[in-house]
């Protein structure tokens, strides 16, 4: 007999009132237990008013405490209820699966323990970024990295595509216990980027609007000024292409040959 208990992780989207899907709303309304991790205090109040019994995951964060511990505690607190046979809904801002480790990990664990678990997509900051900045990721391609991961690992980037760096406010933090890193760490990031981008290259500090009474932040500045720019936990760095795309003539020639052969077969 299948054990009771289930898990659904849903996203509220970025803007209060604008992005919540009907399906995700129904998960929130119908769950036995609701956990929430949202990015705006007014959005958290909205969730609390929708579900007065909703449990915020915010108190698990603490300056100086490793976020790996925080994430583990968040996951365990949700799993306690799933194991108790409850239908649990984890509510997250944006899309619960985009640059969000906790929803993926808790779903993975729930499934491993034999519980039904799934994720409902939501509108992420990435989606808002495309809309607000008028960027189509399909035009030149778009690379996304967590800023610190971009610094700690050797990545091959294509400067003829967009490059988006997330969690730029804590770029370079290895402790996972800080909520901001300063200019010295960002200077290292800028030096890394200057291998492919000139210091004058215009980049965009982007923050999606979370309320209908606020506007997105779309601050344009030279790459070099990232060192001293005011960056927040929810700031994303968008780096437009610095070079035109370069044709792959060898591949184009091979495709042309294939087209000829196909035409010959059909005629």
């Amino acid at each position: 007999m299948q054990q009771s208990g289930s898990l659904a992780c849903v996203g509220l989207g970025m803007m209060l009132g604008a992005h919540l899907s009907p399906r995700s709303r129904s998960h929130i309304q119908q769950a036995d237990v609701v956990f929430g991790l949202v990015s705006d205090p007014l959005v958290e109040l909205w969730l609390q008013q929708m579900r007065p019994d909703a449990r915020s995951l915010q108190p698990f964060y603490r300056e100086g405490k490793s976020r790996q511990t925080t994430y583990r505690e968040m996951i365990e607190s949700m799993m306690v209820e799933v194991r108790a046979g409850q239908d649990v809904c984890g509510v997250f801002y944006g899309h619960p699966g985009v640059f969000a480790l906790v929803p993926h990990k808790v779903i993975e664990l729930a499934r491993k323990e034999g519980f039904p678990a799934h994720m409902e997509p939501g509108i992420s900051a990435e989606d808002c970024l495309y809309a607000d900045l008028g960027i189509d990721p399909g035009t030149y391609g778009c690379q996304h990295y967590e800023a610190s991961q971009f610094m700690f690992f050797q990545r091959r980037i294509d400067p003829s595509a967009y490059l988006v760096l997330w969690q730029i406010g804590i770029a370079g933090d290895r402790s996972l216990a800080r909520f901001a890193t300063g200019g010295d760490y960002r200077r290292l990031l800028v030096e890394l980027l200057m291998a492919d981008y000139p210091p004058s290259h215009e980049v965009i500090a982007y923050e999606a609007a979370t309320l209908p009474i606020t506007a997105p932040r779309m601050g344009r500045l030279p790459l070099s000024e990232i060192v001293s720019a005011e960056l927040h936990p929810h700031t994303t760095l968008v780096i437009p292409p610095s070079q035109p795309m370069r044709r792959n003539q060898a591949m184009l020639d091979r495709v042309a040959q294939l087209d000829l052969e196909l035409s010959a077969e059909l005629s």
Binding site: S39, S56, Y61, Q68, T69, Y93, L101, E146, I213, P233
Partner: protein, 85 residues
């Protein structure tokens, strides 16, 4: 539901809410004068304070290296943290 939160929720789903209609809608709300002014000023920080929203919100839920071993926190006793005052 708080009228302010309800109003913000409705405003978020109304793509055609003009500045004039916004101000008129705020004027009709049965809320405290401070809340009304904060809405008119579009001051979300003031609204959060007036409505006793959480003073500090964290939004990092991703780590750069998920393969790194977890640290041994000295004061990690697991479970839900105590409710904030």
């Amino acid at each position: 539901m708080s009228q302010v939160i309800q109003f913000l929720d409705a405003a978020g789903s109304n793509a055609q809410l003009s500045a004039v209609d916004y101000a008129a809608s705020v004027a009709m709300l049965q809320v405290d004068a401070d809340e009304k002014q904060a809405l008119l000023d579009r001051d979300h920080l003031a609204l959060a304070t007036l409505l006793d929203g959480r003073s500090k919100m964290y939004c990092y839920i991703n780590s750069p290296d998920s393969d790194e071993p977890e640290p041994m926190d000295d004061d990690d006793d697991g479970g839900m943290p105590e409710k904030e005052e």
